[in-house]
């Protein structure tokens, strides 16, 4: 139990913060209800996938600056393929785009492994490349999405055995998010591959000496990141019904949420749950600021201050919590 708290303390704290924010929201706007929660879930969707994409590579000791550009490219690809196509065609588009994310992500990893250029530089370069490719696919926002796809994030999910009022609090967007993330993540984390990802992030040399195929693992981590980013891109197309070639603000948001979520930027530590909760926290703060009709200029200050303050607080408690007898 103590160990659980020590290891998951940050996530537990974030969860408490989230609950607190929900209470605050309800106080600000007594009418805040299940429909509004559904809106929140839909807003969270692309961010959550972006953050998942970032989390995997950060755990593997890297960073992926191309997340947002990858989302843009997959989004415009999906939107332009579905433009004017039949509803059924989307059954082909979705796996195609996911595979594309996987392959492009793997390419990122391959470039890092082969060129031995630091991750941050390689992904900065691919950021430009992917952005350029997105512009070649669609030079202006456009395209379309199949109706059945759009329906996957609208409304709620009836869960057998739950009363209607409870069903109303289970938006489809949330279910989709959790299913996509955890179908990939949970089996992975427990597998040898998942451990290898943690291992190369924690100590690459030790991992290599433990027989971990470092290069292959790194490529897999980036491929997964690409897959998550493709899911993010798809979710953008699904929620807006179009594809936009200029990347949204997902890069910075993903890095911020990763750190807020308790994943060390050095790699090797943390999980996916923390960053996802962090995304909810950040989105809900945004909602609250809108509900309070705070001056938009002040909003930027508050958002920045929260980010800095929470991370500083986290740093502060780790400094305080460091055992007294740390070896010299």
């Amino acid at each position: 139990m103590m160990r659980f708290l020590r290891r998951q303390g940050w996530v537990a704290g974030l969860l408490a913060l989230l609950v607190f924010l929900f209470v605050v929201t309800k106080l600000i706007q007594p009418g805040y209800g299940s429909g509004d929660f559904g809106s929140l879930a839909r807003a969270v969707l692309p961010y959550a996938f972006a953050v998942a994409a970032q989390t995997v590579v950060v755990i593997a000791g890297g960073i992926d600056l191309s997340v947002a550009a990858m989302m843009a490219l997959t989004s415009v690809t999906a939107a332009s393929m579905m433009n004017g196509a039949s509803e059924e065609y989307a059954y082909f588009v979705v796996p195609f785009v996911l595979a594309m994310g996987l392959v492009l992500g793997a390419l990122n990893g391959l470039l890092i492994v082969v060129t031995r250029v630091p991750d941050i530089v390689v992904t900065l370069a691919t950021l430009f490349v992917l952005q350029g490719a997105a512009l070649l696919v669609l030079d202006a926002p456009g395209g379309a999405a199949a109706e059945w796809l759009k329906a996957t994030v609208v409304g709620t999910m009836p869960i057998p055995g739950l009363p209607d009022w409870a069903d109303a609090w289970v938006p489809k967007a949330l279910v989709l998010l959790l299913v996509c993330l955890f179908v990939i993540w949970i089996p992975l984390r427990r597998s040898r591959l998942g451990l290898s990802i943690y291992a190369i992030g924690s100590n690459e040399l030790a991992a290599f000496r433990s027989g971990v195929p470092v290069a292959r693992t790194r490529i897999v981590a980036y491929a997964l990141s690409g897959l998550f980013a493709a899911l993010g891109g798809l979710s953008l197309t699904i929620s807006t019904g179009i594809g936009a070639p200029i990347p949204g603000p997902y890069l910075l948001a993903s890095v911020a949420a990763v750190v807020l979520g308790g994943v060390a930027l050095g790699g090797g530590k943390g999980g996916l749950l923390g960053p996802i909760i962090a995304v909810f926290v950040l989105r809900l703060v945004r909602t609250d600021l809108t509900l309070l009709a705070i001056d938009p200029n002040v909003t930027a200050i508050i958002e920045g201050a929260i980010m800095v303050a929470v991370v500083m607080f986290g740093a502060f408690i780790t400094i305080r919590g460091r055992p007294a007898g740390a070896t010299p």
């Binding site: 160990r3 040898r192 451990l195 290898s196 943690y198 291992a199 992030g201 924690s202 100590n203 040399l205 030790a206 991992a207 290599f208 000496r209 433990s210 027989g211 971990v212 195929p213 090797g268 530590k269 007294a324 007898g325 740390a326 070896t327 010299p328």
Partner: protein, 520 residues
């Protein structure tokens, strides 16, 4: 004594192995041949290339040249995973567990069976290991043992141990030796690297000696062979520095001041230190002797200003001091040399910058550097410690022993009045060790004082004037060096009253004991 008739059932046979790092050749022409069931020592002075050879044999780095036969078949071991498959398992000098994973996940990562692992851990003298503990939180010595247990659990044909015992306290080292001996007896081979002759003679059947990257000979271990090995290891470099010589260098009278240089009273720190009190005089080398984890780490950290004690006082030259940061301790003339050199060195910077680092630390020294003066001071420190500066552009290219010298040279250059040395001879060769002993005595002769923790008990008699024994976070005994023979130290270190008959195995006794145990 050089065994020339090679039986053709060699398990591992490496010939002509070479490895270059840029202009420096780490290995030129190394060969090694290991028989089944043999414990084979790999010996050589610092920089001879032992670690490099181990890394090449286990696929951690590629060789530039050479041929490796495993059971007579040519194998190209390209990665540690491939080496595992070929039955070669190393325990490198650096812990190989992933710091952020717990022990169980570490086992899963390498596909190591858990139950045999647990059995080996118990066997190796750690009865209550929590395998959900994160590796980062486990003390270094235990980590080393876990590394070994992990290797043993997959029952390798050849176990390669690179200075396995260097960082271990005597009690754990003893267990390791016992287990290694039995590996040999049960038909498996072990390649054993150590700078401690007592271990080699207790354990090994044969030894391959490396010098300057080339194999200079293979010898059978038999009584009296040590001299021969030392000769082979050091070659022309041989230089007899006897214990007596080192000590006489500083028979200068110990200046008895009214105030001791350092005076520690009732030092208290969590569960680690209780009521530690002792004095350190000017011109004195005081040895600290303790088993692993008796609070010596914390004691040195507190004196170095790295951590703050919960209670008690520290006085320097009679004036009470409080350290909030290592710079406070340095200000008071207390310099700390950690045992782990990766903790003390900026590995990508030059030897010169590393030595000169303390000069720039204070805010008012941030300005332009007086290059000429710095050069002079640094060069004299380098010369004094005889640092091999062939690869001085980056400290990481130096061999382990030379790196260790740099950590000490820094404080010689800074002219620190008191040096806190934490196991400075960990894993360095006999020649270099002698140099360090001599240096410490010379420092004492100049009126400086040294607090010297060592995990090798025989060093105490060579270097120290007085011994402080710590057990369970308390000073249990203090006695002059004349009384500090190894059995006495051992008894004291185990917290037994002086004079009582010890019921503990002493390193030299390992061999007969284990033989008796494994006899059918």
């Amino acid at each position: 004594m050089t065994t020339n008739e090679l039986p053709n059932n060699t398990l591992l046979d490496a010939t002509g192995v070479a490895k270059n790092y840029g202009a420096v050749s780490a290995l030129r022409d190394a060969s090694l041949s290991v028989l089944p069931g043999e414990v084979h020592a790999l010996m050589g002075a610092n920089g001879a290339g032992k670690s490099t050879l181990v890394k090449i044999l286990t696929g951690a780095i590629p060789a530039d040249a050479g041929r490796i036969l495993i059971r007579g078949e040519a194998r190209d071991v390209r990665s540690p995973a491939a080496a595992r498959r070929a039955g070669l398992l190393p325990v490198y000098q650096e812990p190989a567990l992933i710091p952020d994973l717990d022990v169980l996940c570490n086992l899963r990562l390498t596909g190591t069976p858990v139950e045999p692992f647990r059995a080996w851990v118990r066997e190796l003298g750690i009865p209550n290991l929590d395998i959900r503990e994160t590796a980062r939180d486990i003390p270094l010595a235990v980590l080393r043992v876990l590394d070994l247990a992990r290797a043993l659990a997959v029952e390798p044909d050849v176990l390669l141990l690179d200075e396995m015992t260097a960082a271990l306290p005597a009690n754990l080292a003893e267990k390791v030796l016992e287990v290694v001996r039995r590996q040999g007896d049960s038909g498996r081979s072990v390649i054993f690297i150590s700078h401690r002759f007592v271990e080699i003679s207790a354990l090994c059947d044969r030894a391959t000696v490396l010098r300057d990257g080339a194999t200079v000979g293979v010898v059978d271990i038999e009584p009296g062979v040590e001299e021969k090995i030392v000769e082979m290891m050091l070659g022309a470099r041989i230089e007899k520095t006897s214990v007596a010589a080192a000590r006489t260098a500083s028979e200068a009278p110990v200046v008895k001041d009214s105030h001791p240089r350092l005076s520690v009273r009732n030092l208290q720190l969590g569960t680690k230190l209780h009521d530690v009190s002792f004095d350190l005089a000017n011109g004195e080398v005081a040895g600290v002797v303790a088993l692993e984890g008796q609070g010596q780490d914390e004691l040195f950290a507190a004196l170095a200003g790295s951590i703050r004690p919960a209670g008690g006082t520290i006085a320097v030259d009679g004036a009470p001091v409080k350290f909030f940061h290592p710079s406070d301790a340095i200000q008071a003339g207390l310099a700390y040399v950690p045992g782990d050199r990766t903790e003390a060195l900026a590995m990508q910077r030059s030897v010169r910058e590393n030595i000169a680092l303390p000069f720039s630390a204070a805010l008012r020294k941030w300005g332009p550097i007086k290059v000429r003066r710095e050069h002079m001071v640094v060069s004299s420190a380098i010369a004094r410690l005889q640092i091999d500066t062939r690869a001085q552009g980056e400290v990481q290219r130096l061999s382990g022993g030379n790196q260790q010298k740099v950590t000490i040279a820094r404080w010689i250059a800074a002219d620190a009045r008191t040096i806190l040395c934490f196991d400075p001879t960990r894993g360095i060769d006999v020649g270099t060790k002698q140099e360090i002993y001599k240096l410490l005595r010379e420092l004492a002769g100049l009126g400086k004082s040294v607090l010297f923790y060592t995990s090798e008990l025989e060093e105490v008699q060579r270097v120290c004037d007085r011994v402080i024994v710590i057990f369970g976070g308390r000073v249990v005994d203090t006695f002059p060096v004349e009384l500090a023979d190894e059995p006495a130290l051992m008894r004291a270190a185990y917290g037994l009253p002086r004079g009582a008959r010890a019921d503990v195995g002493i390193l030299a006794d390992v061999r007969p004991t284990s033989d008796a145990e494994t006899a059918p």
